[in-house]
Amino acid sequence: MNILCVIRQVPDGEAKLRINNSKVDLDGVTVIMDGMDEYGVEQALRLREAGASVEQIIVLAVGPARNEDAIRTALAMGADRAIHVETGEYLDPISLSKIVAQVAQEENASLIFSGGQQSDWDSQALGAATAERLSWPQVTWTNALELSGETLKGKHDIDEGAETFEVELPAVITTQQGLNDPRYPTLPNIMKAKKKELRKDTLEKYGVQARLRHVSSTIQVRERAGKLIDGKDPQAAAAQLLELLRNEAKVIS
């Protein structure tokens, strides 16, 4: 079978964000593969290593030219080849799912991995939307997964706790912490990755348009009081903090 891993490239968590023309401007910002997507790439590799008959692990990214860095990382981890739909246009997850579904069909994929939450859009919609387009089942927030024959078994988080599940392929799985520890690409694998196929597609090929219009972005500036107390005298510091919580914030009685 073929596995499709959808990846996104996002600003590094510690990167300073700025707004330009009421949009987040990522020029010059360190960008990385979304940590949540890395679990999916890793899990595809592990399924193959555990003996599943995985023919190809294909990586898909939709976004500007700089996404190549994240794609090369996934290839260096061990994915076989990649497709990059190059566009500077903003696409909401519901529109994006149209591309993912088309690629999955063209590439004859029977398992799709995608991160549980995108750390740029803070969205959790892509996996379920893609599954709906393909009329496949999906399991979100998966933190344990194995394949026996055509059946995926695993564990995932639900509203009230956790649930173990079974689902037949084809399926979409969204990944998260706990599923695995993504490997670091080694230098030889980084070199090898440079020779792997990276196909470039245009957005036009997929006939997709954004369904939402971006209106504005604002950096969160939440004024915090920032009152720091020296803790060298622990009793005095504790008393001073409790006084602030009681009389200024009024959060304890």
């Binding site: 909401d92 803070d122 919609a125 009230e160 219009r213 720091l228 803790g231 009793q235």
Partner: protein, 316 residues
Amino acid sequence: MILLVADHNNGKPTKAALELVQAARDLGREGPITALVLGQNLAPVANELAKYVEQVLVADLPQLASYNPELWAAAVTQIAQEGEAHTVLISASRSGREYSARVAVKLDAPLLEDVIRVQDQGGALQGTKYAYLARVTEIYESSAPLTVVSVKPGAYNPAQPESTAGEQYDVELELPTSRTRSTGKVIEKTTRVPLTEADIVITGGRGLGSPEKFSSLIEGLADNLGAGVGATRAVVDAGWRPYGEQVGQTGKTVAPKAYIAIGVSGAVQHLSGMGKSKYIVAVNKDPEAPIFKNADYGIVGDLHQVIPALIDATQK
């Protein structure tokens, strides 16, 4: 009509369901506000909901006894189509964010996801949401005739009942068979105030040094203050605390009146789960720890001395 899916628990609409009602009222779009309830033995929930909305649609079916994404999506889509809804409101819980995406695809509609505010701007819908791990607030607009919106729990105040009772109708649904089988559930139980409902949350990080210190210091202080207990991912990964206590991007989102972070560095993935708390308090020995930049009050010092002093001072 505005269609909202009302979640329920123990025969009552959840707080999040009443928040959706308020979102629908504030939106002020034309047509009746209609609540759809899915499940089994729904009479008590439906009667209660009728105090809040003009119409309650009741889908009382054994297949709907517990949540399933494929069934929920099919049910909501059918009702939205038959009722010619222009707005579908779903609570942005884990499950809501999952099936709302399926509903949007089925209805060929845009999705405004996890919004903290939704407004009608001359016929178009504008949704405000957080992005970039809650560091940025963004507004998106849908001009489609029908839009699906998931609303962040806690973003609206729960609605108050109306003076007149709404009509109730039973609905018929054609449901697919789900292809995913649940083989067992683990429901989180805690004897403390649940994290997401607590007014005060005390969270411990790796700075505590050991699971024993976590229990004695964090739980000790939480006992005295009647607080919920949270943990960072570093602590959960180390196996000191259960995953259900994790706060952050991959854990729970909380916004209590006071959030007290002890031995927590304040990584963005952690901040994204608690940064909207009313007051943030930090105890850390490193004055440069990022958590202090986001704190209202802080003690710069060794937690092994400061927390016992706090426990003493709050002893009842």
